[in-house]
C-alpha cells in the first residue's frame, strides 16, 4: 500500500514537473498553411441557387450575417468575409461579379438576429446567406431547444426570401472552454442543417484541427492582431472552397 502511494506521488511530481519543461517549446508561428482535411469541408447538401447564378454569369451577391467573431476589431479588411470575397474573385470568373456584404449583429442571440431577417433580406436580396451564430447563445446559456427553434425559424426566413443558406457554427476557443459550453449549440446547429439539407461550415472543428495540429496556437494570449488575421485568412479560404464545392463550381464541374 505504502509503496503504491509513494509511486503515485512520484508520478504526480513527474506530472507537475513535465509542463514547465515543455513550456519552452510552445512557441507558435507555424506558417499558416491553412490546411483543412477534406472531410471537414465535405457536404452532401448543395447550393443550387449559387450554382445557377454563377453559371448564368449573373452577379453573385453574398451576405454574411454574424456576431462579433465575424470581424476583427479595426481590421475589417482582414476578416474572413473579406478574405472569402478575395478568394472567390480569384477562383470564379469573371472576377467582378462576386460581392460580399457583412451584417454584424453583435451581442444578438439567434432569436434576436432571426427577427431582423425579413427586412434584411428585402434590403439586400442576396443569392447566398452565410449565417454565423451560436456564440452569443452559448455565452448566455440560452436553452438549446429554444436555440434550435430560433435557428430553424431563421433558416426558414432566409430560404423563403429566396436565398441559399450556409450555417456557420462557433469558433473553437480553448481558453474559454471551461466557461462556455459549446457542444449543445454545435449539436443543434448540425441537426438544423441536416433537417433543412443546408451545408454547415464547421468552423469549430476546423479551428480545433488547426490548434491540435499546431498550425495555430489558439491559446496564445497575444494582443496583436496577427494571429486573428492569419486565422481569418485561412477561414476565408476554407469558406470560399466550401461554397465552391457545395455549389459544384470546382474546375472539373465548371467546364461546360
Amino acid at each position: 500500500m505504502k509503496a503504491r502511494v509513494l509511486l503515485s506521488l512520484i508520478l504526480l511530481c513527474g506530472g507537475l514537473a513535465a509542463p514547465s519543461a515543455r513550456a519552452d517549446d510552445a512557441v507558435p508561428a507555424a506558417p499558416a498553411a491553412c490546411e483543412v482535411p477534406p472531410y471537414l469541408l465535405a457536404t452532401d447538401s448543395q447550393l443550387h441557387k449559387v450554382a445557377d447564378t454563377v453559371k448564368a454569369g449573373k452577379p453573385l451577391e453574398i451576405l454574411v450575417i454574424g456576431s462579433r467573431s465575424t470581424t476583427i476589431p479595426a481590421q475589417e479588411d482582414s476578416s474572413y468575409p473579406a478574405r472569402m470575397q478575395a478568394i472567390l474573385k480569384e477562383k470564379l470568373t469573371p472576377a467582378e461579379t462576386v460581392h460580399v456584404s457583412v451584417e454584424i449583429q453583435s451581442k444578438k442571440t439567434a432569436e434576436e438576429a432571426a427577427s431582423t431577417f425579413v427586412n434584411l433580406m428585402e434590403a439586400k436580396a442576396p443569392t447566398l446567406v452565410i449565417w454565423q451564430t451560436g456564440t452569443v447563445d452559448a455565452i448566455r446559456s440560452i436553452d438549446p431547444e429554444d436555440f434550435r427553434g430560433a435557428v430553424t425559424e431563421g433558416v426558414a426566413a432566409l430560404q423563403n426570401a429566396g436565398a441559399d443558406v450556409v450555417l456557420m457554427n462557433l469558433q473553437y476557443s480553448p481558453r474559454t472552454e471551461t466557461m462556455i459550453s459549446a457542444p449543445p449549440y454545435l449539436d443543434n446547429m448540425r441537426v438544423v442543417a441536416q433537417e433543412h439539407d443546408i451545408p454547415l461550415f464547421d468552423r469549430f472543428a476546423i479551428m480545433r484541427q488547426w490548434n491540435d495540429q499546431g498550425q495555430f496556437d489558439l491559446f496564445s494570449p497575444s494582443r496583436g492582431p496577427e494571429l486573428a488575421k492569419q486565422v481569418h485568412d485561412c477561414l476565408g479560404r476554407a469558406l470560399a472552397q466550401f461554397v465552391i464545392d457545395a455549389a459544384h463550381l470546382g474546375p472539373a464541374q465548371q467546364q461546360n
Binding site: 500500500m1 503504491r4 502511494v5 503515485s8 506521488l9 508520478l11 504526480l12 506530472g15 507537475l16 513535465a18 509542463p19 514547465s20 515543455r22 513550456a23 517549446d25 510552445a26 456576431s67 462579433r68 467573431s69 476583427i72 476589431p73 481590421q75 453583435s106 451581442k107 456564440t135 452569443v136 455565452i139 448566455r140 446559456s141 440560452i142 436553452d143 431547444e145 469558433q171 476557443s173 480553448p174 481558453r175 474559454t176 472552454e177 471551461t178 466557461m179 462556455i180 459550453s181 490548434n211 491540435d212 489558439l218 491559446f219 496564445s220 494570449p221 497575444s222 494582443r223 496583436g224 492582431p225 494571429l227 486573428a228 486565422v231 481569418h232
Partner: protein
C-alpha cells in the same frame, strides 16, 4: 449503478441464514427495514468511485480517455450512477437515524450535510471566479473578443455573486452539487413518507416526474434559462435509490433474478449501444427507422429522459445480477482506489471539479497536445486516489482516538452523502 440491494445476493445464493441483523424485528419500523450497518456495501463505493472518475474525465476537454466513459456506449452516464447511489446511501444512513433518533434529529443532521455541500459548492465557485478573473485580465487575443463576453458578469459582481449564492448562477460543470443540495433538502420529507408508505412515496415521486414532463416545470437560472439538471425530474432517481435502500431492492430480488429481466436488460443495452453508435458512425443511421428517430430524439438530460432512466435501470439490473455482494474482486487491491474514492465522495467530487479546472488551466497556459492531455487525466485520477487515501487514513486515526467517547454512529461520511 448497482441496485445495491443488501439481500439479493444472499437470497440468490440461498444463504438465508447469513442474513444479519436486519432480520431483527424493529418495534419502531412498521413499513421498512434496514440492513445491518456493520459491513459497508462495497459495490456502492466501487461504482460511486467509478462515477467520480468518469465525471472528472468528462469535465476535461475530449481526449483518449473520454472514450472509456460510459456515455459513449449508451444513453445514461455517470450522473445517473452518482445520484442513484447518493439517494441509496443517504436513505440508508439518515433513514437509520430517523428510526433511532426521530424525525427532528435526523432532519438536523441532514441539514448539516446540506450545509457542507453548499459550502463546497461556494468554494468551487470561488475557484471558478479566480480562474475567470485571471483569464479576463491576462487574455486579450482579438480573435476572441466575442467569447470574452462571458466575462461580462464580472462587471456586476453585486448581482452575480448573490445569484451564485442563491444557486441560480452556475458556471459550466457546476451543476451537480446544486441538484444534490435540493435533493438532500427534500430528503427529510422523503424519508418521513417512506417510513410509512414506501411504495406510495415512490409512486408520488413518479407522479411528480410525469407532471414535470407534462407541464414543463423547471428551476429558473440566472441570467436566463434553467437548471441543467432539473431537480423535479432527477428526484425520481434519488427517491428510487432511497426506496431500494429501505427494502425495495429486497422485494425486487425475484424480479432481478429472473432471466426475463436479464434478457430484456441485455436487449435494451445492446439497442442503446447501437443507437449511440449511429452518432459516431453516421452511415449506420440509414438502418434506423425514421419513425423511431423522431419519437426518440432529443434524449433529454435536463429532465432525465425516460430512455436514460431505463438505460440506467437495465445497467443496474445486470450489475446486481453478475456482481454479487460477496464477489472477492471487491477486496482486490486493484479496485481499492475506486472504492476509496467512492467512500469520500463529496471531497473527491469537489476535488475532481477543481482538478478539471486546473487541467484546463495547464492545457491552456502551459502546453496542449494529446500526451499532455493523457498525463493530466492520469495525474488527476492519481491525485483523487491519493487524497481519498489520506482522508481514510486520517479518519482511521481520528476514529481510533475518538472511539472511547462515542460509538460509531453512521456519520455523514458513511452516508457518503457526497
Amino acid at each position: 449503478m448497482t441496485i445495491a440491494d443488501q439481500v439479493t445476493g444472499s437470497t440468490i445464493a440461498g444463504t438465508a441464514g447469513a442474513k444479519p441483523a436486519e432480520a431483527k424485528p424493529r418495534v419502531t419500523a412498521p413499513a421498512i427495514t434496514l440492513p445491518a450497518i456493520g459491513e459497508r456495501e462495497l459495490r456502492l463505493d466501487l461504482f460511486r468511485g467509478l462515477a467520480l472518475w468518469l465525471i472528472f474525465i468528462d469535465h476535461l476537454p475530449p481526449n483518449l480517455l473520454t472514450w472509456f466513459t460510459i456515455r459513449n456506449y449508451g444513453f445514461s452516464d455517470a450522473t445517473e450512477i452518482f445520484i442513484f447511489i447518493s439517494g441509496y446511501t443517504a436513505a440508508f444512513v439518515y433513514g437509520r437515524a430517523m428510526l433511532e433518533n426521530g424525525f427532528v434529529v435526523a432532519t438536523a443532521r441532514i441539514l448539516r450535510r446540506v450545509w457542507q455541500i453548499y459550502v463546497a459548492h461556494v468554494f468551487l465557485f470561488t475557484i471558478f471566479l479566480a480562474e475567470i478573473s485571471y483569464v479576463a485580465t491576462s487574455f486579450e487575443n482579438p480573435l476572441y473578443t466575442e467569447e470574452m463576453g462571458i466575462m461580462d458578469f464580472l462587471k456586476q459582481p453585486d448581482i452575480t455573486i448573490v445569484q451564485a449564492l442563491l444557486l441560480r448562477f452556475r458556471p459550466v460543470n457546476m451543476d451537480v452539487l446544486p441538484l444534490y443540495i435540493v435533493l438532500m433538502l427534500a430528503l427529510p420529507l422523503i424519508l418521513w413518507s417512506m417510513k410509512r408508505r414506501p411504495d406510495v412515496t415512490l409512486a408520488l415521486s413518479a407522479v411528480l416526474y410525469a407532471v414535470t414532463w407534462e407541464f414543463d416545470l423547471y428551476f429558473s437560472a440566472y441570467p436566463n434559462g434553467f437548471w441543467a439538471f432539473n431537480p423535479l425530474a432527477w428526484q425520481l432517481l434519488f427517491v428510487f435509490g432511497a426506496w431500494c435502500a429501505l427494502g425495495g431492492a429486497r422485494r425486487m430480488s425475484r424480479i432481478l433474478a429472473s432471466p426475463v429481466t436479464m434478457w430484456i436488460s441485455i436487449a435494451y443495452i445492446v439497442a442503446a449501444f447501437y443507437v449511440t453508435l449511429t452518432w459516431y458512425v453516421p452511415q449506420l443511421s440509414h438502418f434506423m427507422p425514421k419513425r423511431l428517430e423522431q419519437w426518440m430524439y432529443p434524449i433529454d438530460k435536463t429532465d432525465l429522459d425516460v430512455l436514460r432512466f431505463t438505460h440506467f435501470l437495465a445497467l443496474a439490473a445486470l450489475t446486481v445480477r453478475f456482481l454479487p455482494r460477496e464477489w472477492p474482486g471487491l477486496r482486490s487491491p486493484w479496485l481499492r482506489p475506486l472504492i476509496l474514492c467512492g467512500q469520500h465522495s463529496l471531497e473527491i467530487f469537489c476535488l475532481g471539479v477543481f482538478l478539471a479546472f486546473a487541467g484546463h488551466f495547464i492545457l491552456a497556459e502551459v502546453a496542449g497536445g494529446p500526451a499532455m492531455h493523457a498525463l493530466i487525466s492520469l495525474s488527476g485520477i492519481l491525485i483523487m486516489w491519493a487524497v481519498a487515501w489520506v482522508i481514510s487514513w486520517y479518519k482511521r486515526v481520528a476514529d481510533k482516538s475518538g472511539a472511547k467517547t462515542k460509538n460509531a454512529v453512521g456519520n455523514a461520511d458513511l452516508a457518503g452523502g457526497g
